[in-house]
């Protein structure tokens, strides 16, 4: 918890700094809006297409698989942190290695299936 109180102070400082800058800008900055200033612009060019375009549904599959392997990493982190400690426990050393091997093996199966079904290819 003690490390987190320092984090809290930093958060307050950062948020305070950002809010102060925004409020000062709001109070002191000149504001002369005009129709031409409010127009959307793209690198100074006249806008040709609407920025609201639909994404390809293919991104969605990638996103789902990303989440699955993200969660795999979530399980890997505590295992990696504890691995040295596991090795000092004679009764757990072998199991600690095999359990992660089984876990990765099952998920590797999923990756193989995804690969075989051409999920990694864009077309």
């Amino acid at each position: 918890m003690d490390g987190y109180s320092a984090l809290l102070v930093v958060t307050f400082l950062v948020v305070g700094l950002a809010v102060t800058m925004l409020v000062l800008n709001l109070l002191l900055g000149p504001k002369n809006p005009s129709a031409i200033k409010s127009e959307p612009f793209e690198c100074g060019q006249v806008q040709i297409t609407s920025p609201r375009q639909r994404f390809s549904v293919k991104f969605y599959l990638i996103a789902i698989v990303f989440i699955v392997f993200d969660i795999e990493v979530v399980f890997l982190i505590p295992w990696a942190v504890l691995y040295r400690w596991f090795l000092t426990q004679p009764s757990w050393a072998v199991l600690a290695f095999t359990e992660m091997l089984v876990f990765l093996g099952i998920l590797g199966l999923g990756l193989a299936y995804f690969w075989k079904r051409r999920g990694l290819e864009w077309d």
């Binding site: 918890m1 987190y4 809290l8 609201r52 375009q53 639909r54 994404f55 549904v57 293919k58 991104f59 969605y60 599959l61 996103a63 789902i64 698989v65 990303f66 989440i67 699955v68 993200d70 969660i71 795999e72 979530v74 399980f75 982190i77 505590p78 295992w79 942190v81 504890l82 400690w85 596991f86 757990w92 199991l95 600690a96 359990e99 089984v102 876990f103 990765l104 099952i106 998920l107 199966l109 999923g110 990756l111 299936y113 995804f114 079904r117 051409r118 999920g119």
Partner: protein, 175 residues
């Protein structure tokens, strides 16, 4: 101190949760998604107050990071304009949903009041913290996960495998 922070984060979480449904900035679903990220962030803060630091990190990493990617993708995939969404109408489903929520809310509030009448709850204002100082750290969670909850951990991998297969079957049906 912890109690004050609890209420600050709780109120912030509830307010940003309300912003998900009723965004004060307009009807753009992206604002709702950002408000949802704020809600998840404040929930992570609550997890820190509960000494569940590893879960707090996961809350931000997995929910605010990965799950919100999916949400944002759905918003961008559909990318409905105002004309496509159409006028908001009061449908039967919405009325039924509202009634069910109100009934559930009344029931829960009634239960809390009843429980308080039967056995008055005293609020513990001092936070002694867990007896084990390592509680909630990555080591503590890891030991629990890889020793006590070994089978659920391995079953999780099968669950994730099912998720991959399901996603492929749904999205790549044509092949």
């Amino acid at each position: 101190m912890a109690l004050i922070l609890f209420f600050v984060f709780a109120i912030a979480a509830v307010l940003s949760g309300i912003c998900v449904a009723f965004s004060p900035f307009g009807n753009n679903p992206v604002y709702s998604a950002i408000a949802l990220i704020m809600t998840l962030f404040f929930l992570a803060c609550e997890f820190v107050l509960l000494h569940a630091t590893f879960i707090a990190v996961l809350q931000i990493l997995v929910y605010a990071g990965a799950i919100m990617v999916l949400f944002t993708f759905v918003i961008m995939l559909l990318n409905l304009s105002k004309e496509e969404i159409g006028e908001e109408r009061l449908t039967l489903t919405k009325v039924v949903g509202l009634v069910v929520v109100l009934i559930g809310l009344t029931y829960q509030i009634g239960r809390v009041i009843w429980a308080h009448k039967v056995a008055p709850v005293t609020l513990h204002l001092t936070d002694g913290g867990p007896s084990n100082p390592a509680f909630g750290t990555i080591q503590d969670v890891g030991v629990k996960l890889f020793q006590d909850f070994l089978v659920p951990f391995e079953v999780t991998s099968i669950l994730l495998l099912v998720a991959i297969v399901g996603a492929v079957v749904l999205a790549k049906r044509k092949i």
